[in-house]
């Protein structure tokens, strides 16, 4: 693991789990697979804390264990999985767009808890949804489990490997660690549960349908966050700030009265849970497949038009079940099939569809390829080539934004012609020699472009060797990925620094808001509230504004850099699989 990756992992673990887990996690990432005693010795933490940290990390699928010879158990950290923690907001937002608020909360709970049983998950999500609904209404468990089943069917959630049940009774001592196995067929099999909602007794199907209809018809049944976000869109409040204030005060309320809520949650029914031992986790690969499809469709939409992007989206949707996610191209689809599967709203004729397909297949980017003529023309989508084009486009845009458009012209030229000599670059790019060489050397020093030597004689004499400029996309992509990791680490550090600088002010404003909220709850006059609000002076307010603005900007930058990271990682992974 590179130093930049380790630094980023350390920052992420610290933010999510605290310093002790961070120390253990980073040590494991640095040194590889180790048994517990060695970890205790090397990190100089107590055995108790190491055990707790390892339990947390294993729960979140960040560390796996293996039993080695002589009964020793070794623990190994998964660095790439730790880096996925950056992408949690994107996963949750995707679930929201596909399966509404219920799906969003299911995925959020799964990501926050690592793994959960279906019954526990459904209960938790239903309770959360009930809290945000109007008084007297409760969220039905059946609807939540319905959404869960849909998520499992489309493979967005999957089963964790199960503890291997030994049939024969073990004469000797049980093994030091359970072996976990998973059957491919069972990975998305939902157990049959009858969830009894202890606040609402389900009498019959009619009642269930009635509730369902009510929930569909009544407006704005959204969880707190979405509510705050929607409310924050009111013009004039500046949505970032409005959101923050609202969220913070609602959170203060939540922390202020946990004890009141606590007794309700501890009324667990002590009966045995039917799906005990069957844990579920979020299937990140499926989300990545979805992101990749989204990227391809939007690229086609930018390059051509909306209709062609719809056609490509249809083709990708049809290939979801037939093609594994790591294949270089999809299974061939005939033009007739595509025509039948187009979305209902699209009424384009067969000839128009054929024209679009021909146009897509002839495009130099080669997203779509023609693999045969039967059935009106067999078409495939070149996934590997598409990822390559997307990665190349990222590289080009980075060169353009860093070095200027003339450099970008040279870069694209060298990309297109593969190998060029110094003189040829000047001629083709129509840039004066001095500037061209300056730009080439700048790009060379930053490793976007590399030199290829072609000797004419065996002794590699410099006077008798060709020196050609070329772009090696794989290595340039790796270099850019490394830089992305460094930049996200810098962004996180800067954000933490800014927050730490203004810690006193933030705490003060939180206290003031808590006071205002409690006073409003108990009923107070406007004058009193005004007085309390003036406890924060105008310059301090200004400072808070600036801080909020900066932190928002840094957070948004992190999310955007993560998108680039996804593209580059997908391309590198796809290339490595083909080799």
């Amino acid at each position: 693991m590179t130093q930049a990756e380790i630094k980023l992992c350390s920052l992420l673990l610290q933010e999510h789990f605290g310093e002790i887990v961070e120390k253990i996690g980073v040590h494991l990432i640095r040194t590889g697979s180790q048994p517990i005693r060695v970890i205790v010795h090397d990190t100089r933490t107590s055995l108790d804390q190491v055990k707790k940290a390892l339990c947390v990390l294993i729960q979140h699928n960040l560390v796996i264990y293996q039993v080695h010879r002589r009964g020793m158990v070794e623990y190994e950290a998964q660095c790439s999985r730790v880096l996925r923690m950056l992408r949690y907001p994107r996963y949750i937002y995707t679930a929201k767009t596909l399966y509404n608020d219920t799906g969003e909360l299911i995925v959020e709970e799964l990501l926050l808890n690592g793994k959960m049983t279906m019954s526990a998950l459904v209960k938790k999500v239903a309770d959360r949804l009930t809290e945000t609904m109007e008084d007297g209404k409760t969220m039905d468990y059946a609807e939540v489990s319905c959404t869960f089943v849909r998520l499992a069917d489309t493979h967005f959630v999957q089963r964790c490997p199960l503890v291997h049940a030994t049939e024969n009774s073990d004469p000797g001592p049980p093994p030091p660690a359970p072996t976990l196995v998973i059957n491919e067929k069972d990975m998305f099999l939902v157990p049959k549960l009858s969830l009894i909602d202890d606040t609402l007794a389900l009498a019959g199907i009619a009642q269930w349908i009635e509730l369902w209809l009510q929930m569909k018809v009544l407006p704005v049944q959204t969880p707190v966050r979405a509510h705050a976000w929607v409310a924050g869109q009111v013009p004039g409040t500046g949505h970032a700030r409005g959101k923050g204030k609202r969220r913070r005060s609602s959170e203060d309320d939540a922390t202020g009265e946990p004890k009141a809520k606590r007794p309700k949650h501890t009324t667990d029914n002590k009966e045995p849970i039917p799906d005990d031992g069957i844990y579920w986790q979020a299937n990140l690969d499926r989300f990545h497949q979805h992101f990749r499809d989204q990227a391809i469709v939007s690229a086609v939409a930018n390059r051509m038009d909306q209709t062609s992007s719809e056609i490509v989206r249809t083709m990708l949707r049809m290939s979801e079940v037939t093609t594994p996610s790591s294949a270089p191209f999809t299974q061939p689809l005939s033009s007739n099939e595509i025509f039948r599967s187009l979305p209902v709203g699209y009424n384009i004729s067969k000839q128009v569809l054929d024209q679009y397909l021909t146009l897509l297949a002839d495009d130099p980017l080669e997203f779509v390829g023609k693999s045969g003529d039967s059935g009106g023309g067999m078409y495939i989508i070149n996934l590997h080539k598409a990822l390559g084009s997307l990665a190349t486009a990222s590289l080009e845009s980075v060169v353009q934004e860093r070095f200027g458009s003339r450099c970008a012209r040279i870069f694209r030229l060298v990309l297109q012609k593969k190998h060029l000599e110094q003189k040829q670059v000047e001629d083709f790019a129509m840039i004066p020699a001095k500037e061209a060489k300056d730009m080439l050397y700048k790009m060379l020093s930053e490793n976007f472009i590399s030199l290829q030597e072609i000797p004419k004689t065996p002794d590699h004499a410099p006077s008798r060797t060709f020196y050609l400029y070329t772009v090696n996309i794989l290595s340039a992509a790796r270099m850019l990925l490394h830089r992305c990791y460094k930049s996200i680490a810098n962004l996180i550090e800067r954000r933490q620094f800014e927050t730490k600088e203004n810690k006193r002010l933030l705490e003060k404003s939180q206290r003031v808001e808590a006071i205002i909220a409690s006073m409003q709850a108990t009923g107070a006059e406007a004058a009193q509230l005004q007085e309390i609000e003036e406890m924060i002076t105008a310059p301090e307010r200004q400072q808070l504004e600036t801080l909020k603005h900066n932190v928002n900007k840094l957070d948004a930058s992190e999310i955007q850099v993560d998108e680039t990271i996804f593209l580059l990682e997908s391309y590198i992974e796809s290339t490595m699989k083909r080799q």
């Binding site: 887990v21 907001p89 937002y93 808890n113 969220r247 031992g277 957070d555």
Partner: protein
């Protein structure tokens, strides 16, 4: 290098043998190329000549196997600059930490999705701090206990992992005296610590009756004695010095003849004799 010194004196150049290295060796980047080809850089700097002129002279030195004729061994055009051109100076330090950027970055993407993801991110950051998986570092005791600290404590749920899915060594062990290995979940650790403090208090009271200045030493002795017993009794091979917080305070008196309340630090020896100076000392 005699040749270079001579060069400083007069422009005409003679010797060739030192420059054999020009003919072999791979192409390097511009700064290192200069360093390699120019054995004493000081000579170049002191002579106040720029590179192409120097090269001309070097190459003139190289020539064809000792004839001293002016001819290039490689195509100077290929490197990218012509004769007589002024080149930028050699940079002898690492690049600056915050370099100037000629081009400002493009503004961030905005939109509904991006705003929602931003709100999600910030909310997740707050939520994870309240989850039971966030293990806080135990803080050192502050000198003054702040009143507000009591009311700012965040209530956290307890999380018990599913022990069936974890290796057996993960489970916290409960210690018994004389080390009977038990693998039960340590629910009673809180109770044992309470009984520990109760024991300690009892013992302190006992010892107070015996004498004042001695109780701290005895307590230490007692604790060390019981710890050792635990170490022997436990069947685990490796270090239990790490698990100091969970030892039991069993009241095992050490079986020896020494009175526990006796303590002599030797100060009394010879101190009394100073009072009576009349007595003869031998």
């Amino acid at each position: 290098m005699a040749a270079l010194r001579a060069e400083r004196a007069s422009p005409a150049v003679e010797s060739v043998r030192d420059c054999r290295s020009l003919e072999s060796g791979s192409f390097l980047s511009l700064p290192t190329f200069r360093l390699l080809f120019c054995p004493s850089l000081e000579a170049l700097v002191l002579s106040e000549q720029n590179l192409p002129t120097f090269l001309v002279q070097l190459v003139a030195m190289a020539g064809n196997k000792g004839r001293g004729r002016a001819a290039y061994t490689f195509n100077i055009e290929a490197v990218g600059f012509n004769r007589g051109e002024k080149l930028p100076d050699v940079v002898l330090k690492p690049p600056p930490l915050f370099p100037d950027t000629d081009y400002k970055p493009v503004p961030l993407k905005t939109g509904e999705g991006e705003d929602y993801m931003l709100a999600l991110k910030q909310e997740l950051r707050e939520t994870v701090k309240r989850m039971p998986y966030f293990i806080e570092t135990p803080e050192e005791k502050e000198d003054i206990e702040r009143y507000s600290k009591r009311y700012m404590k965040v209530y956290k749920e307890e999380w018990i992992p599913d022990w069936r899915r974890l290796p057996r060594e993960m489970m916290p062990k409960k210690k018994y005296k004389k080390g009977s290995k038990s693998k039960k979940v340590d629910n009673t650790s809180k109770d044992t610590s309470l009984t520990n403090t109760a024991d300690v208090l009892k013992k302190i009271e006992e010892l107070e009756k015996r004498g004042d200045g001695e109780k701290s030493d005895e307590e230490n002795e007692e604790k060390e004695g019981s710890k050792e017993k635990n170490k022997e009794g436990d069947e685990d091979e490796e270090d239990d010095a790490v698990e100091q917080e969970e030892y039991d305070e069993e009241e095992h008196e050490e079986e020896n003849d020494y009175i526990n309340s006796y303590f002599d630090n030797g100060e009394d020896f010879g101190a009394d004799s100073d009072d009576n100076m009349d007595e003869a000392t031998y």
